[in-house]
């Protein structure tokens, strides 16, 4: 099934004018900015896990590498933030490729584990890296704000940040839709649905998997960079398992390989998560329950429901 740009453009238009209603609500704006940034990470995760069938748990680690790289490059080396974000995302992409090259030839559980271990080892590496300015177990603070053509974007000003993150989000959606609709995407769907057949007609999954993994890593790195300059603080808490499970809930409830679903889930759960904060330790417990229940009882997630409704609707239109 080819994805159309139509719905994405409609959504973009709605999002473009949304601040007219809520620009005074700083909290809500913040949540929307975070949703946009997370959605970049998650759309990439969905692409590699749901479409390319790469069983990766490393997407958050790569996001973190992007965030830390850009934070350190701008704060310590003194690169302008926009440059540091770009370089940081290239570093994140490079790490992604280094991990992908040996592991993507292996069975799924190995990929899952290598990437999970990358995530865990990164926590130690950041602590070890204290001497080179990673902030160790605490955090990097005072990251310079984003500036562009002489205009600087302090985090307090939600509106410009909203448009920056929205632009990034839609840029990434269009790239991912293009990938899914390209020959890569089609060969992935073929591999996913009929692996033997696809292999017999010569679909080279290894090469395309590496390319797509790298693309997802690049965007995760970019999102990480913008996150660092928006928050102006990065800490190893991004790598906490409660955060991991939150993003996993978004991915699973959104529906693996059911494209628009993951974006809807990102927005729902970013908001829900804020309201779950008073629950403290119950929040990760609840998120754990959600992952299990979602995967057992709604394996196609929100994306499955969206697809179901749109096909019904199309059929209905055709009949009438």
């Amino acid at each position: 099934m080819k994805l159309s740009y139509k719905n994405t453009i409609i959504a973009f238009a709605v999002m473009l004018f949304l601040p007219l209603l809520i620009h005074d609500n700083s909290f809500l704006m913040h949540i929307l900015i975070m949703s946009c940034l997370f959605s970049v990470l998650l759309v990439g995760w969905d692409l590699i896990m749901g479409y390319a069938g790469i069983f990766s748990f490393g997407q958050i680690a790569i996001f973190t590498i992007g965030a830390y790289s850009s934070a350190m490059l701008s704060k310590i080396v003194g690169l302008p933030p926009l440059i540091s974000i770009l370089v940081g995302s290239l570093i994140a992409c490079g790490v992604g490729i280094i991990v992908a090259l040996p592991s993507l030839r292996l069975a799924g559980i190995y990929v899952a584990m290598v990437t999970f271990l990358l995530h865990e080892a990164l926590i130690s590496m950041i602590r070890i890296g204290r001497v080179i300015g990673t902030g160790g177990a605490t955090s990097i603070t005072g990251i310079p704000p984003l500036s562009f053509l002489g205009y600087s974007f302090p985090s307090i000003e939600r509106l410009p940040w909203y448009y920056v993150s929205l632009t990034l989000a839609f840029l990434s959606y269009f790239v991912f839709i293009r990938i899914i609709n390209s020959s890569y995407g089609i060969s992935f769907v073929a591999l996913r649905d009929a692996e033997d057949l696809a292999k017999s007609v010569g679909v080279d999954d290894y090469r395309s998997k590496i390319i797509v993994f790298a693309m997802a890593a690049l965007f995760a790195g970019l999102a990480g960079g913008f996150y660092a300059h928006y928050m102006r603080l990065v800490s190893v808490r991004i790598l906490g398992l409660d955060n991991f499970i939150l993003l996993l809930v978004m991915l699973i409830v959104g529906g693996l390989g059911k494209f628009p679903g993951v974006i809807v889930a990102t927005f729902i759960f970013t908001i829900l998560n804020e309201y779950m904060r008073p629950l403290e330790v119950f929040r990760p417990i609840l998120l754990g329950v959600m992952v299990i229940v979602a995967i057992i009882y709604m394996p196609n997630g929100i994306g499955g429901i969206i697809n179901f409704i749109t096909t019904k609707f199309r059929r209905f239109k055709r009949i009438s």
Partner: protein
């Protein structure tokens, strides 16, 4: 210096023996049902905290009783989890992926449940045996000697169970050819549940033994799980002997890394080691499949 090396080596061996138990449990479940359980480390945490609870509730508590209580508890716990999560998922097309995601959720859930019930402060289990023994100039803790003995008993007992008993044979049969087992009329689901139960017991025992050396923390299980996985990857998924050798190779190396570079390098060491194994020996040392 030499004595120091010997004692690092000896510590490495005791740690390795606990890693062997947990890795064998992980490998056993993977070998039999191809299920990969990401909550496995949290099972070890649960086992350790159950032991702590027993000791804090009853003054007269001792390890033989604690073990006798924990084994049936962990076994039933494992069977219940198997029934709740991997079994309904196995009907799905992508059950391998979905099981991993669901058990990861379970792992986070359990770790936070432990955090909620027992609080964030570290806890310690009493030692299995007090004092030290001197062999030459090297001093060894009784605690570690008892751990090693228990670990050997557990591994030998498990191997005998798999080799000699009919039910153990059935488990091996399912691991070797599940289609053949089905044709013979084996109750595959029972064997999956049993294997899961046994592996949960092994995780619990490992958590208990490690708890006599290190402090207990609610999230400590993840490290155990990751190490168990790397051991299984090195030893070859599904191979028990492979896991045994790999546990000792990695455990002893780890204790040298810990001594020379510091404990913070332990996790990066396991990561780099796993990458190296996967590059040079993609199917593990004694890999089956």
């Amino acid at each position: 210096m030499f004595n120091q090396l010997i004692s690092i080596f000896a510590n490495g061996i005791t740690i390795s023996s606990t890693y062997a138990i947990v890795a064998i449990g992980l490998s056993l479940v993977y070998g039999v049902s191809k299920t990969f359980n990401y909550a496995y480390g949290s099972f070890a945490t649960v086992g350790a905290y159950i032991t702590w609870l027993l000791f804090s509730m009853f003054d007269w508590m001792n390890y033989p009783v604690a073990i006798m209580v924990m084994i049936p508890f962990m076994f039933l716990f494992g069977i219940a989890i198997e029934w709740l999560i991997p079994r309904p998922l196995r009907k799905n097309e992508n059950w391998e992926i979905t099981t991993v995601v669901a058990t990861l959720g379970l792992g986070v859930l359990l770790a936070n449940l432990v955090l909620f019930l027992f609080g964030p402060y570290t806890k310690a289990l009493p030692e299995l045996g007090g004092g030290t023994v001197s062999i030459g100039h090297v001093q060894l803790d009784w605690n570690r000697i008892v751990i090693l003995i228990l670990a050997i008993l557990i591994v030998v007992g498990l191997k005998l169970f798999l080799k000699k008993t009919y039910i153990g044979m059935s488990m091996r049969a399912v691991a070797q050819d599940i289609e053949g087992a089905r044709v013979v009329g084996m109750k595959i689901n029972h064997i999956f549940a049993l294997t899961f139960g046994i592996s949960t017991v092994l995780a619990g025992l490992c958590g208990m033994l490690l708890g006599t050396i290190y402090f207990l923390t609610p999230s400590g299980g993840w490290e155990i799980f990751i190490k168990a996985f790397v051991i299984v990857a090195l030893g070859g998924a599904g191979s028990i002997d492979g896991a045994l050798y790999a546990a000792f190779i990695l455990g002893i190396t780890e204790s040298f890394v810990q001594f020379t570079l510091g404990p913070i390098w332990v996790m990066p060491f396991w990561f780099i080691f796993l990458m190296a194994v996967l590059i040079f020996k993609p199917r593990g040392l004694l890999g089956i499949r």
